[in-house]
């Protein structure tokens, strides 16, 4: 079914184009006095909200202990299979020997990562966090495979207060009541 669109002929005023030009200049003038919404990226950086999901990173506790115990739940849950963990045992003479297990190597392929945050959600040790890094650059594919060292460097320390494993160590030092 064809519809015939009726086009009204332009009026005399419209034929001068002046109302449209003035309307456009008015918008321009108004925006000149509005606050700026653009940033001079990369010199200026945006403010990242707390719940932003950027690059996943590994964190340490306030005592500098690596929190990850390589339970491999994040590796299991990761939808694009970006995470790869090589679990390892903490030697018995180490200070954190009571934790027993730590990753020998931890790798996140940032080209694969989809920033879904499931790894952070699933982590029972609160060791992996998606923080505020959003710009990932590199020249080779290998550079995008973030290894343990880089992930801890990006992650830093998490100021949590529960010290689960320290309490465990203290309890072991006190020993049993009997």
């Amino acid at each position: 079914m064809a519809i015939v669109v009726q086009r009204k002929p332009l009026t005399w005023l419209e034929k001068t184009y002046l109302p449209q030009i003035l309307g456009g200049m008015k918008i321009t003038l108004k925006n000149m006095f509005r606050p700026k919404v653009t940033l001079e990226y990369p010199e200026e950086r945006p403010v990242i909200p707390d719940n932003y999901r950027g690059v996943p990173t590994l964190v340490k506790d306030p005592n500098g202990r690596e929190k990850c115990v390589s339970c491999q739940l994040c590796e299991f849950v990761c939808p694009p299979k970006a995470i790869r963990i090589w679990p390892g045992e903490i030697p018995e003479d180490a200070e954190t020997a009571h934790v027993e297990k730590a990753p020998e190597e931890f790798e996140i392929d940032m080209l694969r990562c989809i920033y879904c945050g499931l790894c952070q959600e699933v982590c029972p040790e609160e060791a992996i966090f998606l923080q505020d890094i959003f710009s990932v650059t590199g020249y080779t594919r290998d550079e995008f495979k973030y290894r343990k060292e880089k992930l801890y460097e990006l992650g830093g320390t998490l100021p949590d207060k529960h010290f689960k494993w320290d309490k465990k160590k203290e309890a072991a030092a006190r020993g049993n009541a009997h």
Binding site: V69, C71, L73, F76, P87, V99, E125, K168, A171, A172
Partner: protein
Amino acid sequence: MSDEKNDELVTVYVDDRAVQVPPGTNMIEAAARAGVEVPHYCYHPKLSVVGNCRMCMVELGMPEKDRATGQPVLDDAGNQKTMWLPKPAIACATKAMPGLRIRTDSDLARSCQQGVMEFLLVNHPLDCPICDQAGECRLQEFATDYGRGYSRFVEEKNVKPKRTVLGPRVVLDDERCILCSRCIRFCQEVADDDVLGFIDRGSYTTLTCYPGKRLENNYSLNTVDICPVGALTSTDFRFKMRVWFLRETHSICTESSVGANTLVGAREGKIYRITPRRNDAVNDTWMADSGRELYKQVEAENRLALPSIEGQIAEDPARAVRAAADLLKGRDKTAFVGSGRCAVEEQYLFRKLAEQSGAVRVDLVSRIAEGDGLLISSDRNPNVRGALVTGLIDALPLSELAGLAAAIDRREVDTVVAYNEDLTEAGITADQLAKVSVVYLGTHANATSARARVVLPTLTVFEKNGSFINQQFRLQKFLQAVPGPAGAPGDLRTLAALLDALGAPAPAGLDDVWSDMSASIEPLSGLRFMKIPSEGLLLDVPSSLRALPYAEGETLHHRPAESGVAIA
């Protein structure tokens, strides 16, 4: 359960579901037959019942009878009334009797299960993230199914020894132990090596070794398998891989002619562990520790991946096969040395190959050592019976290849085809080996492959499909768990290509080999690889085969005297 007769069965009721079981059946098993899971920790079908975990508490009801007359008491509808016991009872120590009823989902049973779970979790360290059992842990599973979901325990948890080395292969974490005593009973009843026990009392009870003893018998890793929690862990598997990543493939242990059924756990082409698979006619739920380390041969240093001719790597397998065939063609002094470690199908094609190239003699390397009377028999070849059934050999192999050695010395043999066997370890000296041209088909490099003119790589038991015939003449199949090394085309294809090059086309596919075998070998008639059940199939073999003087002594589920006479 073929020995059950219908008139010997009794009817019991599990959650009002009628199920027929032999009298005296454990009620946990009876419930399992009715499709109801009674949660349990200490009960194990192959160990004695102790009833100390209290997890399997159910409500118990007896058919009501009049005390004076012994007549059944009937309700209004004419059915016999049930007398429910006022207190719950443990299902594992209750035997099936006519009309017995249990309730596993009543309020009382539920509250029992929840209460036991709460007590078990009181001192549990909840270190699932670092626990190897996570993923196959009964405590995790039942906490999800019957637990309350949160802890009311605010007091401090008990401290017990962690990372205790019980033996060369077992590490104990006492805090995770729920004191089910399965490991203690296993050591007493199955391994006959009573080294584990509890010390201290109450919630301080601790599992430990007797002073001065270690858990080091060759069955110690079974305690790790039956541990319902993560208290006992395997040193070899500890912290290597989470179990939920492992794909488990049905396999057969090649350690001896017992043919223990196994599960091979692998992830992305790498094997991480081998665990026993239940087969009540062969290995129950056990296997030896030594058999669990056999997966290490897959990634051994001396693994052969590529064929070679005169010591030079040949990238093209077809060229190596042609070179091997050239060595065999037109010779009349060729000897073949087969292996009891090869699958039935491979032995069959190897026999055809020997026939085709007019072999003057076919030998098999024998491996006789002392058995342990449990799951390692004296014959350390998993498949000597297969070589007999397929006709590769017609008599039991001698301990050393003395006949072949003498034949080489007499210049009656100038070419030897060795399959998966190192001739120098089987009684052939280096001098004798130097007198003959050797074609070696094998998985690993050794002294024979170093002297071989043509080397064709083959696959280990973990990298192929096939079948073995164990000491009971039970045909058991194993399946491929991991891919073989790139360059090794597979045993059957290599053998078929050799046969092809010698002018006798043969099938290379497993199914085709089986249709060939079932047509020509009497005990295998009508069989196909896919038809072999996962628990194996007892073959009906001629009594002349059964009557051979086999080396095996008595092992679990096998008495030589029984197999010596024809059962059929």
